[in-house]
């Protein structure tokens, strides 16, 4: 049957979902934080941060994967710390794939969140502070709910883009079936094989179905959040 899936394909689906979900879960809080930082006009090195945030968007995915390897590899500045202190190795693991996706989709999240953040009426935050809410309290009860459409949109974009992320994942996490072989890697592998078009089409269809699920969820949440 056309829609029979082999074991590796099931694994790829499961893995893709896990990786995409983890990428969003990892990236979103940081993206919110960075958006808030960037909103603050007197932040030192503001433009540097802004550039760094956008790097993954600008550079070819393979280069990003390459840079991740340099930074998060066992010999990299962060990777060696993670390895020495916690025994965490990211390369060749699903967490590494999620990290690659999180990094690649990070600029998309930040852009969406900033867009919403810019449209938050600061008068409402002011009102909250006269009602006794301190900075964090105001953030969680007023700012965050009002910027929620951007957060949701950013999360959904990141989820969808993670489902399609190829270059950075294969470079950083490599293509280990069952561990880091997400759907796009499986699709790519199929395409690189003479006669693999049908398998590729099947996997691409699955990818689209997974994404549509996320989109619908996002639209639904977005609608509920709108005041």
């Amino acid at each position: 049957m056309w829609f029979e899936l082999n074991n590796y394909e099931w694994q790829a689906i499961r893995l893709s979902l896990i990786v995409a979900a983890n990428a969003v879960a990892m990236g979103l809080p940081v993206a919110i934080l960075v958006s808030l930082l960037l909103r603050w006009p007197r932040l030192p090195f503001r433009s540097v941060l802004n550039i760094v945030v956008h790097l993954p968007l600008v550079l070819p995915p393979v280069v990003v994967g390459w840079m991740l390897l340099v930074v998060f590899g066992v010999r990299g500045p962060i990777g060696s710390l993670l390895n020495d202190w916690f025994g965490i190795r990211l390369v060749f693991t699903a967490s590494g794939a999620a990290l690659a996706c999180a990094v690649m989709t990070f600029p998309l999240m930040v852009r969406a969140i900033r867009l919403s953040l810019d449209s938050v009426d600061s008068g409402l935050e002011d009102a909250a502070s006269t009602l006794g809410a301190k900075r964090l309290d105001t953030f969680f009860t007023v700012t965050l709910p009002l910027m929620a459409p951007g957060v949701v949109s950013g999360a959904i974009t990141a989820y969808a883009a993670s489902l399609g992320e190829f270059g950075a994942v294969i470079t950083f996490a490599s293509n280990v079936p069952g561990q880091t072989q997400t759907l796009p890697l499986a699709i790519f592998t199929a395409l690189q094989t003479p006669g693999g078009e049908e398998a590729a089409a099947k996997l691409a269809t699955i990818s689209v179905i997974l994404a549509v699920g996320g989109l619908l969820l996002g639209e639904w949440v977005g609608k509920r959040l709108r005041p």
């Binding site: 002011d126 502070s129 006269t130 006794g132 709910p145």
Partner: protein, 351 residues
């Protein structure tokens, strides 16, 4: 005790330079033409305006050293600022949850503001006046130690105002919450405020007890038909058959429509200058329930020469009457002349 406000701030085309010292607890009205800086003063007191120079001291506490959230100031904003993502109920409870328990009661406030049926709705689905009432409720339930209200009643009908004003008066009288109120209605000023600050163009033109300021003919109040005497009075007795209550206003007996207060309770009354006619002799049978004998203290003609404001001493009380300069001439009014001040009981406002 006082609320001291010192503020200097410059916008590109406007600068405010304000020094105000107000007695507390008490209600102060900020009064002045559009764009004169009233909201600017309010923002500075609440801490939301990062002013060039600002010092706000309430009863010895330097509010301006505190974060806005710690000032304990309840604000009714001119532009509402209800949280659009919360229900009316959550809006009302927002400040309440973050404050210590206080004298303002949720159920009572909701009842009084007539917003009980709106609790589950989002602000986007309220009418203008409903929004304004929720904003008032939110600021009150925050249990403020200072209440700032920027035209809180402007979108409300007279009936609703008549319900809310006494409530605000009670906050002031019973709970001793000082208030700073921006309003364009002299009626609200008279009914609520003890102190009046008159602003123009970023500075204070006059400040002082409401009675004093409202009777000053050099200010705009007189020509705007807004002059009047505010007098402290004590209830003497009720006359249920006549439906009237007798007050002792500094030795002068004044009849007003019956009110439900025990004898010897103290109330302030306002006798608008427009309500008071003058006669030289006893006028015979007339609809004026009050005929007060007094002595002309002084006469002031307004700069536009359309009106003469006559101040009359009657006992310890001062009354104001406004008449045409012609009538003043016809009566040959001059200082120290004895006159009768005539006004109706229903013309007297109990504030």
């Amino acid at each position: 005790m006082t609320l001291d406000i010192h503020l200097k701030h410059t916008f590109p085309t406007f600068s405010a330079d304000v020094d105000i010292c107000l007695p507390t607890p008490g209600v102060t009205a900020l009064f002045g033409p559009s764009g004169c800086g009233k909201s600017t003063v309010m923002s500075a007191v609440s801490g939301l305006l990062k002013a060039d120079e600002v010092r706000v001291v309430l009863d010895g506490v330097v509010l301006s050293d505190l974060h806005p959230a710690d000032r304990g100031v309840g604000v009714v904003f001119q532009d509402g600022r209800l949280f659009p993502h919360m229900t009316v109920d959550s809006n009302l409870r927002y400040g309440m949850k973050r404050a210590q328990a206080g004298p303002v009661d949720f159920a009572e406030t909701v009842e009084l503001l007539g917003i009980g049926h709106l609790l589950d709705r989002r602000p986007g689905k309220l009418s203008g006046g409903e929004r304004q009432r929720v904003a008032i409720g939110r600021a009150l339930l925050r249990q403020p130690r200072l209440l700032l209200m920027d035209e809180p009643l402007s979108a409300l009908d007279a009936g609703r105002k008549d319900e809310i004003l006494p409530f605000l008066t009670r906050l002031h009288d019973d709970m001793r919450i000082p208030m700073l109120l921006v309003t364009h209605s002299i009626d609200e000023v008279a009914r609520l405020a003890d102190t009046l600050v008159l602003m123009r163009n970023g500075s204070v033109v006059a400040q002082g007890p409401v009675g004093d300021i409202l009777t000053r003919a050099d200010l705009d109040f007189a020509s705007a038909n807004q002059a009047g005497a505010v007098i402290a009075a004590r209830i003497v007795s009720h006359d249920p058959t006549r439906g009237l209550t007798k007050l002792d206003a500094g030795g002068v007996m004044i009849w007003i429509p019956m009110i439900e207060e025990p004898p010897s309770a103290r109330r302030r009354i306002r006798v608008p200058a427009s309500e008071v006619s003058l006669a030289l002799d006893d006028p015979g049978p007339t609809s004026a329930d009050n005929i007060v004998s007094g002595v002309v203290l002084n006469l002031r003609e307004t700069p536009d020469r359309r009106m003469t404001l006559v101040e009359i001493a009657a006992g310890q009380a001062r009354l104001l009457s406004q008449l045409t300069p012609d009538a003043a001439r016809q009566l040959r009014l001059e200082p120290d002349m004895p006159v009768k001040a005539l006004f109706k009981a229903i013309g007297v406002q109990v504030v």
